[in-house]
Amino acid sequence: MPVEIDIDHVALLARLGLTDDEKERLRVQLGAILEHAARVGEVAADDVPPTAWAIPRSNVFREDVPEPGLSQAAALANAPDAERGRFKVPRIAETGS
């Protein structure tokens, strides 16, 4: 059975603006892909540990030596909008009255 997913909810989580056509196409395609992908549940028994990295490494340290970083100008050079040395975005919160 194809998997039914709540496209609007997932699109909001992903911050992805979709047209109605895209939503309908994705609903059908993702349903089919997930039906196939759900087969992972058939083989993985409870006693099998998960693997996040094939070649695990942990606690990778280096000497804590200061190095030059990006200048403010270089860091802002690709910004779609900037003002007074900062990235500029539409408002993110209601302003108090």
Binding site: I5, R15, G17, A38, V43
Partner: protein
Amino acid sequence: MTDVCDLTGSELAEKLHAGELSAAELTESALRRAEAVDGDVKAILTPTPEVARERAQAVDDHATTGATQSPVAGIPIALKDVLATNGIRTTCGSKILENYIPPYDCTAWTRLSGAGAVLVGKTNCDEFAMGSSNENSAFGPVHNPWNLETVPGGSSGGSAAAVAAGEAVWALGTDTGGSVRQPASLCGVVGLKPTYGLISRYGLIAFASSLDTVGTCTRSVRDAAVLLGTLAGKDQRDATSLDAEVPDYLRALEDGVGGLRIGVIEGTFGEGVQPGVQDAVRTSIDRLATLGAHVDDVSLPTADHTLSAYYLIAPSEASSNLARYDGVRYGFRAEGPHSDSIAMMSATRGQGFGPEVKRRIMLGTYALSAGYYDAYYGQAQKVRTLIIRDYERAFADFDVLVSPTSPTTAFRIGERADDPLAMYLSDVFTIPANLAGVPAISVPCGLDSGGLPVGLQFTAPALGEPVLFRAARALERDLGLELRPPLLAGV
């Protein structure tokens, strides 16, 4: 007519060292070839002729001092456009990064550049390396030099096509589920995916961090070994970079396959593998046996579930990695006015990403969302454990494994565009090596009845690149194929 850009890097290094050829002449040869064919092939998104000429001149100047040169010095190379290059536009094949100019170099290029390699351009690819045909590039598809109506494979299609057509002698690609090996197979070149962590991922713009590797496209196995020797090694800027010692990859290159135990992966002659692919692969395996290898069958029992696991793990990691494209710090921002930041980000991402990237972001976001994580991502990670165990068992009995690289040769542009599941099947033989982190290489092993190249894949245990190169070289030497796309007859 052949030109110097058609020779292998190893042949060219000899000529450069002997003073029979200058880096400037070699660079002009590659730039001329790109000029002649790239209008048809469309492998290169951003040509860099000025940078190339300047760097070639520097190599020639250095040569006159009599100093020893690296084997990569003066060799024209193209980089997949997901590899960050300081001051040179890096698009990831996406509208969202159409005008992005990185302020830093990826480590892979830092190493090659430091050794004198000559950058001729940034190559076209599927958007954010997601695809198997190069049709997902926001800047149009690449055309396979062997037949311009077919795909070059993907996602590193531009890199493989550029090397096949002589626009570059070498190219770097990236391989997350087969993205170097599959296009190499479809374009008739050698494609290497090394052990995970052997080449630094710093500056490889992330798709799926636990699977991504930098890989190489070359016209010989020796060239792949030479390139890896320069690229491999610990990098403090990548926490997953391996600390392993980098051996001399050329030392055992010509040792042959006498006595090697070679396992033929079950499914090699299965349903879905084209007859032309089966024939070329069967002939190659017979040759390996004749050359003294012990050949037997081997099964990877979890193989049937690798596609499922991959299409949960890779999109999950992608949905997280691609969250950074939000129209704030770099890249495209949708035209306003926007009511708030969420509206701006949603519009930016909706307009900036193409269909395949949206599909995978949605898939990954769903698989990681509350209530579904255990059933999808959690289970997929367990399957990954089983795949690693399959390889451990196989490598207890065999030194290397063989299979086709791709079940088919190059398919027609548009043929699979509307069927994502059919497209995903292109990677059925290549994905397991990414999930297990082991190295694999695709070597051309013949042409099908339509004159399109077939690739044979060798897989070795982690850090088994020396035996991988040795087996691949033995086959390459024995077959002695002269591979030249028909397109080049007219240039």
